[in-house]
């Protein structure tokens, strides 16, 4: 394993009491002084700032780039209005999820179309794109940009102190803004279930941007632990845990991210498998899991029926501070996926009763004017 990389905000994390851990090849803050629960609560009730600069920012441009990207993305990329975002995924030929991504439509048919991809998958995604797109398309990894997420019900008010622009955006829309004299690309998006924004900024201006936001006194720095509990309560998938190449979007309950026309017409890598799974129905389903009691049920725990039949596995689990209780998600075989189904999780040899639950655990509060 090579030495983990550091984002341009590394020194700022240390100066603010960040406890650094190795995550997907990056040295990132797991938490700061207040701790994950306080950081989580700050995001649900105020505004929390996350450094997500470890994520990959990839731009694709060239002749007819948007339409040609549809060969590897099941989103309607060519129909995306400029500055509109969609959740999508790169699939392999078997319909397995190579990565889940956010795609932003470019200014015209030739792009650039922007993909934000998971940190640990960036290299694999670049290889995948290069392999399946012709050489006349340019694929650039924009590691000259930093990315920070400002999330929570007061995030819009915080940015409005600097620039009225971001507040006018709806969920999954992009625009520009000037925050404390620094030009940023803003999207109204995030991965916490709350209203919020992601700010893309030049690497050499990121520290000044974050310091300016922190100086409002209305923003709490939050680390990976809070980010994980927030997305889990919001029922959002983490690639490598809840999604991987052995899972198609059909089992994962992500078919909503494939527009009906693309489901019908196909034309993307993995389309045949996705169509077949849609026609036959999934053999297993991603579901929420609520443990009875307070003992957390974590990734890897086997799920059984009362009679001992193994029917699934937990893929993410931990403590949900908003619920004040453990929460988890996982996959169970069809027939055991209805909310209210009672199962047993094997937690290091101890049986923990659990109930299958609808997702999300905490309702989304995205801004849809």
């Amino acid at each position: 394993m090579s030495t983990p990389r550091r984002t341009c905000l590394y020194d700022l994390h240390l100066a603010n009491g960040g406890r650094m851990v190795d995550f997907a090849g990056w040295e990132m803050p797991l938490r700061y002084g207040p701790g994950p629960v306080a950081e989580h609560e700050a995001c649900r009730s105020g505004a929390a700032l996350f450094d997500v600069s470890h994520m990959g920012i990839v731009e694709i441009s060239g002749p007819d780039a948007a339409r040609r990207l549809e060969a590897v993305l099941p989103a309607a990329v060519s129909a995306l209005a400029p500055g509109t975002l969609k959740y999508s995924f790169l699939l392999d030929a078997d319909g397995g999820v190579v990565d889940d991504v956010i795609v932003t439509g470019g200014p015209g048919p030739d792009g650039p179309v922007t993909l934000v991809v998971n940190a640990g998958n960036t290299v694999e995604d670049l290889v995948h794109l290069r392999l399946h797109l012709a050489d006349d398309l340019t694929i650039s990894h924009r590691d000259d940009l930093a990315l920070v997420a400002l999330q929570g019900p007061t995030a819009a008010d915080v940015l409005a102190r600097f620039d009225p622009g971001p507040s006018a955006l709806g969920f999954m829309q992009a625009g520009g803004a000037t925050i404390g004299g620094i030009e940023v690309d803003v999207t109204r998006s995030g991965y916490t279930g709350e209203d919020g924004f992601e700010l893309m900024v030049a690497v050499d201006e990121a520290v000044e941007l974050v310091e300016g936001l922190l100086a409002t006194g209305a923003v709490t720095l939050a680390g990976l632990a809070a980010r994980d509990s927030l997305r889990l309560e919001a029922g959002l998938c983490l690639h490598g845990h809840d999604l991987d190449r052995t899972t198609t979007p059909v089992e994962a309950g992500l078919v909503w991210a494939i527009p009906p026309g693309r489901r019908r017409d196909g034309g993307f890598l993995g389309a045949e498998v996705v169509a077949r799974r849609l026609a036959d129905g999934p053999l297993r389903h991603r579901v929420g899991i609520r443990p009875v009691g307070r003992k957390p049920v974590r990734d890897g725990a086997e799920l059984r029926t009362a009679t001992g039949e193994v029917v699934g596995t937990v893929t993410s689990g931990g403590f949900g501070p908003t619920l004040g209780a453990p929460v988890a998600m996982g996959y169970v075989t069809a027939g055991h996926h209805e909310p209210g189904t009672e199962l047993v999780a094997d937690v290091r040899g101890t049986d923990v009763p659990v109930a299958v639950t609808a997702l999300p655990f905490v309702p989304h509060r995205y801004y849809r004017p």
Partner: protein, 130 residues
């Protein structure tokens, strides 16, 4: 960080307070800080035998599961039931309301020696502060 002088400490980050022939056990300020928010404490069953240096229960923070090691030989005679609904007491008051259990020793005559084998506050501070 606070390491009270009247306690003994294990290198596994538990503290032990002598109370006659019994020993009250908890985790240190350093341990609670390193773990972060404690969200679950597996309270051992009354009567569980403990061996010095061996795991006898688990503590879970938001991101990890950690073993709890016994500082002395004996058996569990009391557990802090308040931790069932308020595991955060381990973070808030690790030497007080966040106590975990009481161990009764099998051989009271050797208890002094067992505790002497643990670290005093100064030695423990040196261990964790390097």
């Amino acid at each position: 960080m606070e390491f009270p002088a009247d306690l003994r400490y294990s290198s596994d980050h538990e503290w032990a307070r002598r109370d006659g022939d019994r020993v009250v056990v908890g985790i240190t300020d350093y341990a609670q800080d390193a773990l972060g928010d404690v969200v679950y404490v597996e309270l051992p069953a009354i009567g569980t035998a403990t061996r010095s240096g061996s795991a006898f229960s688990e503590i879970e923070s938001t991101k990890s599961v950690s073993d709890l090691y016994a500082p002395v030989d004996g058996r569990i005679v009391e557990v802090n039931e308040a931790l069932t609904d308020a595991p955060e007491l381990l973070n808030e008051d690790p030497y007080g309301r966040g106590w975990i259990c009481v161990i009764a020793v099998e051989d009271p005559a050797s208890l002094g020696a067992s505790l002497d084998a643990l670290l005093d506050a100064a030695a423990y501070r040196a261990l964790v502060e390097g």
